[in-house]
């Protein structure tokens, strides 16, 4: 068979991505229709930059969600004769396989397009959750540090600065290594890091509902049960049902990324808290006799949401970059993993002769991070407007 022309390649890719287009059109139609009722999210659709950013992010999110329908080949299987095949090459002997490698083959004769799609899933499975856990840790430590001040603040700030003074890359080299995975260090760190979100939600609900013990007991009970279940699965890999699990590799990467991100979030939250705690509504709550955790979590935190939401978007992007860095140095991922960083690393050896295996994931990663940055920019613009 003839290799495809660039126009045919694009048309076929667009056809493979059909579920993504449908989902995107639906999201935009619904959001624009009801944008006045959707708060900050609805206002996003007033800004062009924000809309473009949101579009790119949702595109990758839907690609990751529908990856199973989009891929043309298995991301690990090798097809003979397709080593370093140029984009649009036809398979020699397709049988029941998709007859073309749309974006060519890599140095191990695997389909670049399918690996890119599965790579999106790898990245979006970790980055938002790592950013979320970092945020919960940063908030849980940053609020009391800013609100109470004193020795607690000095101690926590010193610790945060200590981690921040570490060059990120050195920390990765030290922390994400096969030898470290055999020691209890990642488990212990995960044990501490994952405990914080459970504590955060428990305190959050307790501070709100402690006057209504029945409700409080119910909510806190549910959170503790689900939290303990997830905790056992994620940290000890011992979930009886098997819903929550993390391979030692993944846990190691996750812990390292959270560890790098949390101090920055801590500094941001602490700064905002220092500013907000002098406001009148905080003084009013203190006069009413509210407890410190209620004031921190239900008076200060909601009023700090603007900058935090913006930073959350940026942080997912930064986490994506960090994951790519880890992949690029071959740290903490299995060699055949389709994540973008390791694919770039694998493709760079033959870069000057066959650029496509490295270029495709490179451009994907760049577009996702760009989308997140544009989204953050749009959100900042719109949240400043009120």
């Amino acid at each position: 068979m003839e290799p495809l022309s660039w126009f045919e390649i694009l048309a076929r890719i667009a056809q493979q991505l059909l579920p993504v287009w449908v989902a995107l059109v639906l999201t935009y139609a619904l959001s624009i229709r009801f944008k006045r009722r959707l708060g900050l999210y609805g206002k996003l659709f007033d800004s062009t930059v924000g809309m473009i950013g949101f579009g790119i992010v949702m595109f990758w999110l839907f690609v990751a969600l529908f990856a199973n329908f989009i891929v043309t080949h298995d991301s690990l299987s090798q097809v003979s004769g397709m080593r370093n095949a140029v984009p649009g090459s036809a398979l020699r002997d397709p049988r029941d396989l998709y007859p073309y490698y749309l974006l060519g083959g890599d140095s191990l004769a695997r389909d670049v397009f399918s690996r890119m799609v599965m790579g999106a899933r790898e990245v979006l499975r970790i980055a938002p959750f790592a950013a979320m856990i970092s945020f919960m840790i940063g908030i849980t430590l940053g609020l009391p540090a800013g609100y109470f001040g004193g020795k607690l603040d000095t101690g926590l700030t010193f610790l945060a600065n200590l981690v921040l003074a570490f060059p990120v890359i050195l920390l990765f080299f030290l922390l994400v290594a096969p030898e470290i995975q055999e020691t209890p260090i990642p488990r212990v760190m995960a044990g501490i890091l994952f405990l914080v979100p459970i504590l955060f939600v428990t305190v959050l609900l307790n501070a709100r509902f402690f006057t209504q013990p029945a409700k409080r007991n119910l909510y806190v009970g549910i959170v503790l049960a689900v939290g303990a279940w997830a905790y056992v699965g994620l940290v000890f890999n011992a979930d009886p049902v098997g819903l929550w699990s993390m391979s030692p590799n993944l846990l190691n990467v996750f812990v390292a990324v959270v560890f790098v991100n949390a101090p920055t979030v801590f500094r941001i939250v602490r700064g905002i808290t220092l500013d907000i705690k002098t406001r009148d509504y905080v003084a009013a709550a203190q006069t009413r006799g509210e407890g410190p955790w209620y004031i921190m979590l239900w008076e200060i935190l909601p009023n700090a949401r603007g900058p935090l939401i913006v930073d959350f978007c940026l942080r997912i992007g930064y986490t994506t970059i960090l994951l790519g860095t880890l992949g690029f140095f071959g740290l903490g991922v299995s060699p055949e993993s389709p994540d973008w960083g390791s694919t770039i690393n694998a493709g760079r050896r033959l870069l000057t002769v066959y650029p496509h295996p490295a270029l495709v994931p490179a451009l994907s990663l760049m577009s996702l991070v760009l989308g997140l940055n544009l989204l953050a920019d749009g959100l900042r613009e719109e949240s400043l407007r009120d």
Partner: protein, 361 residues
């Protein structure tokens, strides 16, 4: 001011001490020592042989003791073999048993021995740091003016078309990490089969097969435009966007100030307002950010030096890390941490000098 400096330097020392203990602990874990023994003395060693090798080379004493030895506050280990030869930490470093003193750590100026490069850590690092210093010099020379120009042009007239275009460019550059921009630049400019180079060759515009070289190893002897452009650009592009955005934000803020309006009403031309009145005040924030950006560039330096195989500090750090070269890794992390802390100090002190509204009392 002096008291402030002393306190900051004291804090720096405590931080550096904490960080080196962490690095020391992480590089000296039993599993890592076993890897080191196997890479040094053969991969098919039995556990007993590994233990003996560690014992013979002074890795068997408790970790804190060895940290003290490395620091130079505890005497280095000494062993007398059955045949009477004396081995020890200081003996290996200083050559002979007679010349060896009791202590030999970084306090005495002994940085140790690199197992990867089979040379003293100090000489390995000084050579590499020189190479990286050159790289950083060019990166800053490209990055800072470019970032300031982009930021000032964008912030001069907020909301204009120039502002939109330049801001998008700045965002795009912050979204392109070094390993992406490096790959893009190599594919575009340094490949003889794809990108711009074959086109330029066919037009007869360039002599060689490629416009720029994708390998910077030759830059160690002789820096040329063709072998140094890509590594420099790769690092500079990622750092540039952030500085440009800060400059823009600070510039837009200054342009709304009263004194700018006064100058305008006096009839001063727009160009003069920007250069004479706005620029000085607008550059305070970018200065601190540029200083704080230098430690971030370290990341880029490692990636770019590995990608373009330029044997500088970043490349050495990478080699030390993957080979678990403990003493080289420790020395590298000391250098990295000192760079971070010193730039923080300079940015704080510089901020006070540039901004007359802040005084340290």
């Amino acid at each position: 001011m002096l008291l402030f400096l002393f306190r900051r330097i004291g804090l720096m020392l405590v931080t550096a001490l904490c960080l080196t203990i962490i690095v020391f602990a992480l590089t000296n874990m039993p599993a890592k020592l076993e890897t080191l023994a196997k890479t040094q003395a053969g991969s098919r060693m039995t556990d007993a042989e590994v233990d003996r090798w560690l014992e013979r080379n002074g890795y068997a004493s408790p970790m804190l003791v060895r940290y003290g030895e490395w620091l130079g506050v505890l005497p280095g280990w000494v062993r007398t073999e059955d045949n009477g030869t004396v081995t020890g930490r200081c003996v290996a470093l200083r050559g002979t048993a007679e010349a060896a003193g009791e202590r030999c750590g970084i306090l005495q100026g002994d940085w140790g021995f690199s197992t990867r490069f089979r040379a003293g850590v100090a000489e390995v690092l000084t050579a590499r740091l020189g190479a990286t210093g050159l790289l950083m010099l060019w990166v800053l020379a490209v990055m800072v003016p470019m970032a300031l120009i982009v930021g000032i042009l964008a912030g001069m007239r907020e909301g204009s078309r120039t502002d939109r275009a330049l801001s998008t460019f700045a965002i795009a550059s912050t979204a392109t990490p070094e390993y992406v921009s490096g790959v893009l630049l190599i594919a575009l400019l340094a490949s003889s089969t794809v990108g711009l180079s074959p086109l330029l060759v066919s037009w007869g515009w360039i002599d060689g097969p490629v416009l720029f070289q994708g390998n910077a190893r030759s830059a160690l002897d002789d820096i040329t435009f063709s072998n140094f452009t890509l590594p420099v650009l790769t690092i500079a592009l990622y750092g540039m966007g952030y500085v440009a955005r800060i400059t823009r934000a600070s510039m837009t803020e200054v342009m709304t100030q009263q004194y700018i309006r006064t100058a305008r009403l006096k009839g001063v031309s727009f160009g003069k307002i920007v250069v004479r009145h706005a620029l000085r005040n607008a550059l305070i924030a970018p200065f601190t950010v540029i200083m704080l950006q230098i430690p971030w560039l370290l990341n880029g330096v490692v990636i770019s030096e590995v990608l373009f195989s330029y044997p500088g500090f970043g490349w050495t750090l990478y080699e030390a890390a993957i080979n678990n070269d403990i003493e080289l890794l420790l020395a590298s992390s000391v250098v990295a941490v000192v760079v971070v802390l010193v730039t923080q100090l300079i940015s704080d002190v510089g901020y006070v000098y540039l901004n007359p509204r802040i005084r340290i009392s």
